[in-house]
């Protein structure tokens, strides 16, 4: 067989460029490329918005649909830095505090009930037989369909909003914790029994500590739904809150307020998620290494 062109070349002339290209699934970006790739879509969206906003404002300077960034920052500072003419409160911060309080209470209740139900039904088969069917059925009820009932039963105050968040998140957290509890290797339960442990000691010392980081994971996963229930409840009946505000100013097409509010909610959700992840890393360093 005759030698091809490449075979005739002296070895020293080969460079890394002559190496065959790796398959796409084996190409891993380095750190700087990773950052560039990650920022790119954000930059693209911002530029797209600016171009579209400019184009609309060119035709109609009083257009409200896509306000310019200076309009948005005016709207934000009006809400956040100036007291309201009617109540004298800084509405942006007032709304944030109200919403976070509702979300915090609702999520805490859901986490506490979900933990107890999930842990006990995951650990004790008799409880699982008793509670699992109920938990499954309750989790299938669309929580928002219950909102009118909650308003009728608990009134239009804080309670019904908190209960909606709790009802919406509890079945998810409860079922997730039940599954996680059952995933803990049986060997550990048998081992504890051979050391003399009784049922409650096994639940408190062996299962509970291993489930707490999973509880934080479950809360992280279900917080998106929590925000949904919060904003929906605030939109329907409230006098303050982030969801209340965006639905209120919608009547005046105040996009200069709605857009920064949506960005703020997103930022809050992001920060809460990061905080919970760090909480897990700090307090349960053994968690991510897996149970072996």
């Amino acid at each position: 067989m005759p030698l091809s062109e490449t075979d005739k070349r002296p070895m020293s002339t080969f460079t890394s460029k002559d190496r065959p290209m790796k398959k796409l699934i084996n190409q891993v970006p380095n750190n700087s490329l990773k950052i560039v790739l990650g920022v790119l879509p954000f930059a693209f969206l911002i530029i797209l918005y600016m171009v579209a906003s400019d184009a609309r404002l060119e035709i109609n300077p009083s257009d409200k649909l896509l306000p310019s960034f200076s309009k948005i920052s005016d709207g934000l500072s009006r809400m956040a830095l100036e007291p309201s003419k009617r109540s004298g409160e800084y509405l942006f911060w007032q709304d944030t505090a109200s919403s976070l309080t509702r979300l915090g209470i609702g999520v805490s209740i859901a986490a506490a009930i979900g933990l107890v139900i999930g842990l006990i039904s995951g650990a004790v088969p008799l409880f699982a037989a008793w509670l699992s069917p109920l938990l499954t059925v309750v989790s299938l009820i669309p929580p928002l369909a219950l909102l009118p009932i909650l308003f009728i039963v608990f009134g239009l105050g804080e309670l019904s909003k908190v209960v909606l968040i709790a009802i919406g998140m509890t079945p998810f957290i409860g079922r997730d914790i039940q599954r996680r509890t059952q995933e803990i290797p049986t060997e550990q339960l048998v081992k504890a029994q051979t050391l003399g442990a009784n049922t409650s000691q096994i639940i408190v010392r062996v299962l509970l500590p291993q489930i707490l980081p999973k509880l934080i994971d479950a809360v992280r996963l279900s917080l998106g739904a929590g925000w949904l229930f919060l904003i929906a409840a605030e939109a329907v009946a409230s006098t303050d809150g982030l969801g209340y505000r965006i639905f209120l100013v919608r009547r005046y097409m105040a996009m200069d307020v709605i857009l920064p509010y949506v960005a703020w909610i997103t930022l809050l959700a992001f920060l809460i998620d990061i905080a919970l992840r760090e909480l897990n890393r700090t307090f349960f360093p053994w968690h991510e290494q897996g149970a072996k």
């Binding site: 048998v190 081992k191 003399g196 442990a197 408190v204 072996k292």
Partner: protein
């Protein structure tokens, strides 16, 4: 107590197996087991995979119940769930990943007392800490007291699991292929450790292994699990029994070779 009475207590086997069968549906796993074990014996259980040796160990442990027959521990029917009479070391998942090495062993002391949580306080805690440190010293883990299991090597994890089980002072210690996942060098170290502890603490040990050499080296008694009766038309009709009950040190080369060939048959197609 009369001399005869003392003699009869000493002669009471710690484990007595009385015509035990185990079957799942139509599949007979173990059949017609009749055997007893005296205090201080080190029994190793070998056999091909699926021969029922692990099922047998689980029956001693209490996680599997015999379909027929009885098992007696110290002359009493063995409880149908795991308890502190029987210590266990599994191949893995034997230690608590959320506790440090010291806490893992101290937990044994906490679980010994009744109560809702098994947490120890005050003098009891101090006492438990001292006992735990002592046994961890015996298994060679005293330098890793505050580490979590994920920071330990496979061999160290098994040392920890053994320390944990021993502090509970079980009547019998069950080992379910405890060194199967370890490197050969580490395994030799573990053999020395187990033999040392067995001698010092006068333990009664049952150990499942798939390694015949390990079985002969460690045990004072080696049981081979295999089918005695065969039905070619219905392979699940008969279960395994104990085909050999050999005292260590009384085995000649040809018996060893015969057993080795039975347990690890050379496949026709490869030979």
């Amino acid at each position: 107590m009369t001399l005869e009475a003392i003699q009869s207590v000493a002669d009471t086997p710690i484990i007595k197996i009385n015509n035990v069968w185990k079957q799942y549906g139509d599949t007979v796993v173990l059949e017609r087991l009749n055997i007893s074990v005296k205090k201080g014996e080190f029994v190793t259980l070998v056999g091909t995979s699926g021969c029922g040796k692990s099922t047998f160990l689980n029956m001693l442990l209490g996680t599997v119940q015999p379909s027929k027959g009885e098992i007696f521990l110290n002359g009493k029917m063995i409880p149908e769930e795991p308890n502190s009479d029987r210590g266990i070391v599994f191949q893995q998942y034997s230690v608590f990943p959320h506790m440090t090495v010291l806490e893992n062993v101290m937990a044994t002391k906490g679980f010994e007392q009744s109560g809702l949580t098994g947490y120890l306080f005050g003098a009891r805690r101090k006492n438990a800490k001292q006992q735990a440190t002592q046994i961890l010293d015996q298994v060679g883990l005293v330098d890793a007291l505050n580490k979590h299991p994920h920071e330990l090597s496979g061999g160290m994890k098994q040392r920890l699991a053994i320390a944990q089980a021993l502090l509970g002072r079980p009547r019998i210690l069950l080992l379910d292929e405890p060194f199967g996942a370890l490197d050969p060098g580490i395994r030799a170290d573990m053999h020395e450790l187990v033999l040392k502890l067995w001698r010092e603490l006068k333990l009664t040990v049952f150990m499942v292994t798939h390694d015949l050499k390990e079985g002969f080296y460690l045990g004072t008694r080696l049981w081979v699990f295999d089918k005695i009766r065969h039905d070619r038309a219905a392979p699940n009709r008969y279960g395994a029994g104990i085909t050999y009950d050999l005292a260590a040190g009384q085995v000649n080369r040809s018996t060893y070779q015969k057993l080795d060939d039975e347990l690890r048959p050379v496949q026709e197609s490869y030979a």
